[in-house]
Assembly symmetry: D2
Homo-oligomer: 333 residues x 4
Amino acid sequence: MDFFSDNTAPVHPAIWQALAAADAVDHAYDGDALSQSLDARFSALFEHEVTVVWSSTGTSANALALSLLCPPYGGILCHEEAHIVLDECGAIEHATGGARLLTCPGNGAKLDVDILRARIAKLGKGVHHTRPFAVSLTNVTEYGRVYRADEVAAIGAFCRDQGLKLHMDGARFANALVRLNARPADLTWRAGVDALSFGFTKNGAMNAEALILFDPAKADEARRRRKRAGHLLSKGRYMAAQLHAMLEGDLWLANARAANAAGAVLAQAAGDRLIHPVDANMLFVRFSDEEAARLRAQGFGFHPAGPGAARLVASWHQSEADVAPFAAAIAAL
Amino acid sequence: MDFFSDNTAPVHPAIWQALAAADAVDHAYDGDALSQSLDARFSALFEHEVTVVWSSTGTSANALALSLLCPPYGGILCHEEAHIVLDECGAIEHATGGARLLTCPGNGAKLDVDILRARIAKLGKGVHHTRPFAVSLTNVTEYGRVYRADEVAAIGAFCRDQGLKLHMDGARFANALVRLNARPADLTWRAGVDALSFGFTKNGAMNAEALILFDPAKADEARRRRKRAGHLLSKGRYMAAQLHAMLEGDLWLANARAANAAGAVLAQAAGDRLIHPVDANMLFVRFSDEEAARLRAQGFGFHPAGPGAARLVASWHQSEADVAPFAAAIAAL
Amino acid sequence: MDFFSDNTAPVHPAIWQALAAADAVDHAYDGDALSQSLDARFSALFEHEVTVVWSSTGTSANALALSLLCPPYGGILCHEEAHIVLDECGAIEHATGGARLLTCPGNGAKLDVDILRARIAKLGKGVHHTRPFAVSLTNVTEYGRVYRADEVAAIGAFCRDQGLKLHMDGARFANALVRLNARPADLTWRAGVDALSFGFTKNGAMNAEALILFDPAKADEARRRRKRAGHLLSKGRYMAAQLHAMLEGDLWLANARAANAAGAVLAQAAGDRLIHPVDANMLFVRFSDEEAARLRAQGFGFHPAGPGAARLVASWHQSEADVAPFAAAIAAL
Amino acid sequence: MDFFSDNTAPVHPAIWQALAAADAVDHAYDGDALSQSLDARFSALFEHEVTVVWSSTGTSANALALSLLCPPYGGILCHEEAHIVLDECGAIEHATGGARLLTCPGNGAKLDVDILRARIAKLGKGVHHTRPFAVSLTNVTEYGRVYRADEVAAIGAFCRDQGLKLHMDGARFANALVRLNARPADLTWRAGVDALSFGFTKNGAMNAEALILFDPAKADEARRRRKRAGHLLSKGRYMAAQLHAMLEGDLWLANARAANAAGAVLAQAAGDRLIHPVDANMLFVRFSDEEAARLRAQGFGFHPAGPGAARLVASWHQSEADVAPFAAAIAAL
C-alpha cells in the first residue's frame, strides 16, 4: 500500500460522474455554464464575495496568487521549507517577474508573528534592499502541522499593520479545516487572508485547484495572468465540473476527514517515533534504514525525509481498515 | 449544432476508457509508467528520438517551445494573425522573459521564405535592434490553410541558413497531416522543424497537449521550465493516458479525418462564400449580418470573423450526416 | 562636420564646471545635497509636485517609465517607428516583464486620437488578448516633428477617457518646447502626460536623463525599480550636478534653441528635398547615393535613412555659422 | 573626514583629464575610438582574449554577468551577505528573469569548496528543485577579506567539476590584487573565473565599471543584454575614457595601494577592536555607541555595521597622513 503522497490516490467516483456530465457540448474556455457559476458557489462557501481562478496545479495557483500580491521588486516572507521555496523550481520568481522569497525558520514549518517580525528587522529599509510585500503560509504545513484560525488571525493582523498581503497555500486546506472543525471564512478572510490556493487534486479530484481571491477587484488581472501563464483550459468545463463535484454534498470535507482519520491511525501506531505532532494526514516518523527497508519489503511505500526519517501521507481513499496493516507493521518494528 | 470551435467538442470514448484505466494508484508527477513511456512512443511515431513535454494547454506548449528557442533579447518571426500574437495574452513574452514577436503579413495566415526574408531585411542588425532567433508557423493556419511538407521544408532550409530555429504550432497538426497524407516526420524534423506543439485537445482529448522536441538535449531545460510554469501535473498519469489513447490505433488520425470530412461538406455548401480555400476543418465564409442571424435562428452556432464574415469549425465528433443540415442551410441562403 | 546625431556633440562648458564642483566628498548614491534637491527644482520648473528619477540613458528612463505605467500582461500603444520599438533592443519588454508594444502607423511618426482609436478597435477585449494600459509618444518625434500642446492634450484626454496612462519620450523635449515657446507644464501634465523621459544628454550633458513622474505616489516604486535595473549610481552627485547645471539659467532652453536654429539653416538649404516638415533640429532629406557620397567627400557626416534619404541632426554646439558650409554644400548639389 | 565608503571619494585628476580629452566629437554609443580599443587593452591586461562590457554601476555589471551565466530557472550559489543578496534590490533576479540566489554561510563573507559542497548537497536534484548553474564570489569580500589566487582556483576547479560557471564581483578587485601582489590573470581566468565585474568607480573613476568576459563567444549576447538593460551610453566615449585612464600607467593599482595603505593605518590603530582580519581598505571594528558618538563628534564619518560595530572604508585619495588623525582618535578611545 502506498503512502508516498495523496497525489498518487485515484479520482473519486463522484468526480468521474461530474466529468462525464460535463461532456455535453458547451462553450470553450471558461464560457460554459459550470465555469460561470463557480464565483457564486465559492462566494457562498466562503460567506464573502470571491473571485475563483482555477488551474490544473497547485504550483500555478500559488504562483498566480503571489504575482497578484507582490511586485517584481518585492519580497515574500515564507518558511524556509515551504513548498514554494523547495519544490516549485522557481515558479514564484517566474510568475512575479523576479520577486524574492525571504525565508524564515520555524518549527514544523510554521511561522508566527515573532518569527516574521525578527526577519523583517533584519531587512534593510532603503531602495538597495528587498522590501517585503507579502507573507505566504502553508496550511497544512509541509510538516503536517495545522495553523488554527487564531494563529492565522494573529499573522493576518500583523500583515495589515505592516502593509503586507497574506497568502495561504492550502494544498491541504480541507485537511486543516476538518481538523479544526472551522468554517472556511474563519481560516481565511476573517483571519486576514487575501488569497487562498485551495487544493482539490490531493483530495479526490483529477487535476483541479482553485485560487480564491477575497478581493474581487483583482479578477481581471488574475484572469489575464492565468491566460498568459497558459493555465486557462480550452475545455475548461471539465475542470469546473470537478470543483462543483468536490463541493457538492461537502465531498471535500468528507474526503479530508477520511484522510485525517487514516493518518491518525498511523500516528497512534508510530507513537514516540513521531517527529512532529500529527494534525492532519501527513506524518514524519523516525525509521532506521533497516526499519524502513523492512516496511518496504512488506509492500508499504513511502518517501524518506532525511537521514533516519520518513514521510507518510494518508489519502482520502484509505479507510482506517485499509491502513491498519501498515499501522500494525509500524507498531511491530 | 455548434461550429464555434473544436474545443467545444466532447471527449472521445477511448479517452474516457484510458482515463479510467489510469485510476490505479501510481507514482505522482511524471513518475508513473504511462508518463515514462511517452518519449519512446512519440519517438517511434516521429521516426526520430524526441523528448515529449506534455501540458494541459496549447498556449503553454507554444510558450514553452519558444522559451527554448529564443532568448529574452531575441525576436520570433511569425504571422501577424498567429494565435501566439492575437490569442494568448502575451504568453510568449511571459515565458521567454520578454522576447518580441516580429509579425509578418501573408495570405491565409501563411508565411513563406519571401515574406520572412523581406521582414528580416527591415530589421536593424546592431545591438539596438531586436535580432530574430526563431520562426513560428501554425499548421493548420489560423485561416484553415495547410502548409505542405515542401513548403515547411523551404522555410526550414531558410531558417538553417539564417541561424533561426523553427517552431510549429500544431494545435491542428493532425488535420494538416491527414489532409496531406504525409508522415509526421515529413512535416516536422525532416522539414527542419525544431519543436512542435502537437495538439490533442481539439481532436478528442480532454486536456492534453504534447510539445515535441526533436533535440533531446533540450529535455532537462524543457522539463524544468514546464515545472516552473506550473505545468507539471501531480496526477500526470491522467494526461499521459490521454496521449497514449490518442495514438493507439491511430485514433488521432481517424478523428482528424472525420473533422476534415465534415469541414469539406460545409465547404462544398459554402461555395463562393469561402474567403480562403478550405484545407482542413476550419472555414471562413461570407455571411451578411442577416444571413448569419438567419442561421443562428435555426440553431447553428459559430463565431463572427470580422464584418460580413464568419468562422466555422467542424469537429471530430460531427459526422458528414451530422453537418448536413448546416450545409443545407448554408446552401439555402 | 558631423550631423550624425546630437549624441556626438561634446559636453557643455557649464556641465564641466558643475561636474568639477561636485567633486567634493559627499554622500554616496542619491544621498548627496545635489541629488536631494532635484525633486524641488523640477517641481518648480513644472509648476507641479514631481518625482525625478535620473539615470544615464534615455532607454533606461523610457523603460522605467513604462514599467510604472503598464503591467506585464498589458500593452503600450506607440508609433511603429518609435525609438522604443526600433532602437532599444527590447528594453521595454525587459523592464515591464513582457508587456507588448502595440504599434500604430502615422505620418512623421506622429500619433493622434483617430489612429489610437482605430488601433484599439482592432484589439480583442477578452482575457485572450493584450489589453492596452498606456500610450507612449515621442516629442520631438523620430522624424523630427513636434506635437503641439493641444495635440498632446487631445491624446491625453482620450487616454483618461480610455483608462490609459500617457508617457512622453522627450529625448529632445527641450527642442520641442522652444519650438512651441510653451511652458513645460503645458506640454506635459496639463496635457495629461503621466511620465516624461526628459533628455539632457543630447542637449549638452554628459550622461544624465531625468524621468519626471507627475504622480509622486510612484516615487518609492520608481526608485526601487531604478536600483534593481542597476541605474542608481554610486557617485550620483555627478549626475545630479549635470541636471542642475542644465536648468541653471535655462541652459537647456538656450542649447535647444541653438540646435533648432542650426537645423533651420539646413532646412532652408534643403528646400524641396525635405521629406518631413522640420520642426526642430532633425531633418530627413532626399539625397541620391551620388549626392550623399559627394557631401561625405566634402567632410560632412550623416546617417542614411533608407534608400535615397538621409537623416541630418544639428546639435547645440553648432552655430548657424558653423553649419553654413553644409547648408551651402546642400544648396549647391 | 569621511570613511563611509570609497564611493564618496572624488574623481581622480587623471580621470578628469581623460574626460576632457574625450570631449572631441566622435561616434555615438560605443562606436568611438576609445570604446573600440577597450577589448584589446583589457585582453593585454589579462593575458587572454576578453570581451569588455562597460556600464555605469557595479550592480549592472553583476546583473549582466549572472544573466549570461545562469538561466531563469537556475540558481546562483553565493554568500548570504553578498552585495548581490543584500544590496542590489533584486537586480540579479531582474536581469536573469528570476534565477534564485542560493545563499551560503561563511566567515568574513568568504566561501570555500566545503561550504559550496554542503549547500549543493542540501538541494534536491529533480525538476522540482532549483538547479545551481553558477557561483558568485566577491573579492574583496563584503567584510574586507581577500580570496587568494589559490583559494579562487580551488573554487574554480570545483565549479568546473560540477558544471558551474564562476563569477567574481570585483567592485574592489584592484584592492585584492595589490594585496596579493598577483597578476590579474592569476586571480581570474587562470583560477577558473568566467566573468569578472571589475570596479573602477570606487577606485577613482566617476562612473565606469567593466564586465570582463573570458569567453568572447558571449560578446554578442552581452552587448545586447547591456543595451536592453539601458546600459549602453549614447556618449559612451566618456566612460571608455575613464577605463583607459585607470589602466594608463597602472593608476588603478596605485590608487588601490593607497587605499589599502590607509586602511592598514586604521587597522593598526584598531588593534583588538577588529572583527575580521583586514586584507584591504575596509575594516569592521567594535565601537560602543558611546565611542562611535565620540568619534563622530570629532568629525569622523562612518556607517554602523550592526550593534556595537562599525564599518570603516579608506579611499584612494586618503594618504596615510590624512587618516592619521582618525587612527589616533581610535587609538585614544
